[in-house]
């Protein structure tokens, strides 16, 4: 009869295990053959231990959240790590008391109820430890309750909206440990098997202590556990078990390749809806509050994602930076766009033209650089000084790099452009492809297969010219703020080369919101829904921040950012290439072009 109290817990637990088992098998089974092999292989390598370490550091200790805000980090750690320790120490306690390595799963959970004596070895130490850990977890629960009502204390401006499943799970989770405290306190009062916390509570209960009350409290505790386990698969707390799977799958090298597979599900279910991404999202400055990553992930999970939300995103990647789970929100969103978009039958037959001229280096300006002829002029000047034979690939007929179409979900159209450009670049037999637009740079690096062609961003190219002393610059006294373009900084991880180039021309001021936390200019090609006035709000927010530092020049390395910022009155905006050309020492003589052009047509196209 007494054992009936374990029923709610056991039912919930078995249900949970069943669902988890089913889902995990389905998800891992749904990965491509290659990805499955990757996963199996990763178990045999050091990656397995790296993953274990990550599970411990991120899943239990929550290091990333700690970095963001220590109180928030403590809250997560005390709940996760504290509960984990309660389970581990509880098991040891049972093993010692029963003198056996095998103990039923439920026993440590209800140990103080079943084990009324306290005469096994180390029982005093164990009960002290268990009380301490319970206090640790309870402090986390208290903070969690506080956070619901005072989120600002935790460094958060916004928090996510809950749905019913989440509420049931949340309330049961909040109940578990206070009920455990009460139940253990009552048992300690009755049987004297507690320590500093539970015994004290037992004393306070005094005359209230009774077998019936004891049984009811333990039953309530068991019910709250059962409810929590039963609600977990349909609530955001599904992220707890899923995150462990995600860590292993991710570190095996599994990636989304423009198509949904079960890796999408693994990522979607790993989202804890903590809402840390909300505060990083600039769209809220324009009053857009329903398209952030946390909502997109939720809507994918609930199959109610609208295009209006899906396409209203700058794809700036700022939400990825603080994601405690490390979900690749950008890849995920682009994949959803590809999946949800009708592929238009785009024809690019007009691009199919004659063979590409031979050149050492190909320059691809891209659509955006064509809108900023100042950058093209600067690049031409630098190529001339470098004395290279450069084929300006998109000078006349300008094919697109494919990235804007990719961002819009037009994968097939993008692929046609990619194939066309690849054929021309490979045909030129060039060894180097220079691009001056980060949007192009990202697609050339990630989606092209340019064998034996090095894709170089103009910042790297210019830096090389400076290092090799092919050009020498006169350093001025201008205060420069460098604006990290999203596609280059967060998108490609290139932060230093542009700064190093700029340091040769003036004084680069470090600012608070830079590198990983840099603003988006608001001009993003990734957002297909935002209006121009809303874009202007984002731009102005960024400019206001920059103007605090009283810069003489706002430098950037992206033609799109340059154009966006140029529209703001009273701010000098320049691309790094333009600043370099301005800072050139006048005595520099251009090197002779090493490779002579062969035909007249070619001559016109060579710089």
């Amino acid at each position: 009869m007494e054992k009936l109290i374990i029923l709610p817990f056991s039912i919930g637990f078995i249900y949970l295990l069943g669902i988890l088992g089913f889902r995990f098998v389905k998800w891992v089974g749904g990965l491509s053959r290659l990805d499955k092999l990757r996963l199996i292989h990763s178990f045999k390598t050091r990656r397995f231990f790296d993953s274990l370490k990550e599970v411990f550091i991120e899943g239990l200790l929550h290091r990333k959240i700690f970095r963001k805000n220590p109180v928030l980090g403590y809250m997560h750690m005390s709940l996760a790590f504290g509960w984990f320790l309660l389970i581990v120490v509880g098991h040891f306690e049972v093993m010692v008391s029963r003198q056996s390595l095998i103990a039923p799963i439920y026993l440590p959970v209800f140990f103080r109820y079943f084990e009324t004596s306290h005469s096994f070895p180390l029982s005093g130490i164990f009960s002290f430890l268990m009380d301490l850990l319970l206090l640790f977890v309870l402090s986390g629960v208290a903070l969690a309750m506080l956070k619901r009502f005072k989120k600002k204390l935790f460094g958060m401006k916004k928090t996510t909206r809950l749905k019913t499943g989440d509420r049931i799970a949340l309330v049961s989770l909040w109940m578990i440990f206070p009920l455990r405290l009460l139940a253990e306190g009552m048992s300690a009062g009755l049987y004297g098997n507690g320590s500093f916390l539970t015994s004290t509570l037992g004393h306070i209960f005094g005359n209230l202590n009774s077998e019936t009350a004891n049984l009811s409290l333990w039953t309530a505790y068991s019910c709250s556990l059962g409810f929590f386990f039963a609600a977990l698969p349909n609530s955001r707390y599904m992220h707890i078990p899923t995150e462990i799977l995600l860590i292993f799958v991710r570190s095996a090298g599994v990636k989304l390749k423009k198509r949904n597979n079960t890796y999408t599900n693994i990522q979607v279910f790993s989202c804890s809806r903590c809402g840390l991404c909300l505060d990083n999202c600039q769209l809220s400055a324009a009053g857009i509050n329903n398209t952030q990553s946390v909502y997109i992930l939720k809507n994918i999970r609930n199959h109610n994602l609208s295009d209006e939300q899906l396409f209203n995103c700058l794809l700036c990647g700022k939400c990825e930076v603080d994601c405690p789970v490390g979900i690749n929100t950008i890849d995920l969103r682009i994949t959803q766009r590809i999946e949800s978009t009708r592929q238009y039958n785009s024809s690019y037959e007009y691009l199919e033209d004659g063979p590409a001229p031979n050149a050492d280096t190909v320059y691809f300006a891209g659509c955006m650089t064509h809108l900023t002829p100042g950058i093209i002029a600067s690049m031409k000047k630098l190529f001339q000084l470098a004395g290279e034979s450069v084929w300006f690939m998109d000078k006349e007929k300008a094919p697109c790099c494919g990235r804007p179409l990719m961002l819009a979900g037009q994968y097939e159209a993008a692929s046609k452009l990619i194939a066309n450009n690849t054929r021309k670049i490979i045909g030129s037999e060039a060894k180097k492809l220079v691009v001056s637009c980060p949007i192009c740079y990202k697609v050339f690096k990630e989606d092209y297969e340019l064998v034996n062609v090095e894709v170089v961003f103009h910042a790297e190219y210019i830096l090389n010219l400076i290092r090799q002393q092919i050009i020498t610059l006169k350093k001025g006294s201008d205060r420069i703020i460098y604006h990290d373009p999203c596609e280059l900084g967060r998108g490609m991880g290139m932060f230093e080369p542009p700064r190093e180039v700029l340091r040769a021309t003036g004084k680069v001021i470090p600012i608070k919101n830079e590198k990983q936390m840099a603003h988006c200019c608001g001009g993003s090609l990734g957002n297909l829904k935002i209006s121009q006035p809303e874009r202007a709000l984002l731009r102005n927010q960024a400019v206001e921040d920059y103007l605090q530092y009283r810069p003489d020049v706002l430098a950037t390395a992206c033609p799109m950012c340059k154009k966006t910022f140029s529209r703001h009155p009273g701010l000098k905006v320049q691309d790094i290439s333009e600043m370099v050309v301005q800072a050139l020492q006048s005595k520099v003589q251009p090197k002779a072009v090493t490779k002579k052009a062969k035909s007249e047509v070619l001559e016109a196209e060579l710089i």
Partner: protein, 344 residues
Amino acid sequence: MNNKHVAVIGGGIAGMEAASVLARQGLKVTLIEKQANTGGKLNDWDHLFPDFSSPDELVSSLATKTKDSGVNTVYNTEISRIERAGKRFELRANQDVRFYADAVLVASGFNVFDATIKEEYGYGLFGNVITSVDFEKRMKKHGQLRTIQGTAPKRVAIIHCVGSRDAKVGNTYCSKVCCITGIKQAIEISEMLPDCEVFCFYMDLRLYGSTFDSLYLQAQKRHKIQFIRGRLSEAAERADKSIQIKAEDTLQGRPLRMTVDMVILLVGMEPGASTSQLIQKNQMTVDENGFLKSTNMHCARNQSTQEGIFMAGTAICPMAVNETIENARSAATEIIHFFENHRP
């Protein structure tokens, strides 16, 4: 009413016309001009549409009218503030110069759109890309149109709607006068250089004036000016300093590329910079485009949202020369009504 004092800010055609009308009604009028002479932007202009007349006659006749009617004109003075001082207004200039007035007329005009913002058109980067304002200045100064190499252009492209009806630069409104200015300049070029081909790239032609359409027909029939419906996407300078332009011919539905010797950008009108300074202290409001807002579009066009402060001319919205002058007269009438209704 005769002892009332009106301060008119801006000595362009609107300010001059309004000031002279008010002075002839017996009011004391001070016309405050930031530059060394009156006439404003028309001083740089060579010919006016649609009759190809010279603005010089207009400006000098307005100046004579202003002087003869007894307007006190103050030069080289820029008003930075209008504040209420009891029942009057206190106007402060940059230096410690102050004016007191019973009513204020803001006729501070417009700014020309800064074409360098539309970097893809290459203004400021390529010598042969000029604006419609540059065209007038050059014609006035040299009486001829030459490329940067010093040759007569054989092909000229005139680009409509630069900085107007363009959400990307933040101006969604139509500047109204550029279409007909473009046609006027195209005809001038073709009369001056009969061998020169002239192309106008337009979105749609907004020829609102009663004689504008006949000028458009004349441009096509007599002067063989080619009108291509399509916005310019980008311009690039070739080695010989000619300009290659890319556009889309939206009537034929195909992309278009051509090389021209010169590009003329029909730059739009923007709210004056001084306007934004003026409104800061006195709570005058601006409309969605940044121009000064009227209390009523239809029956109180010249009344600002601050009682006693009136507006005239292109500070309200883009308008042509003849409309500006009419508008200035209407502003003068409203000021007179204001004094009649507010007798102490």
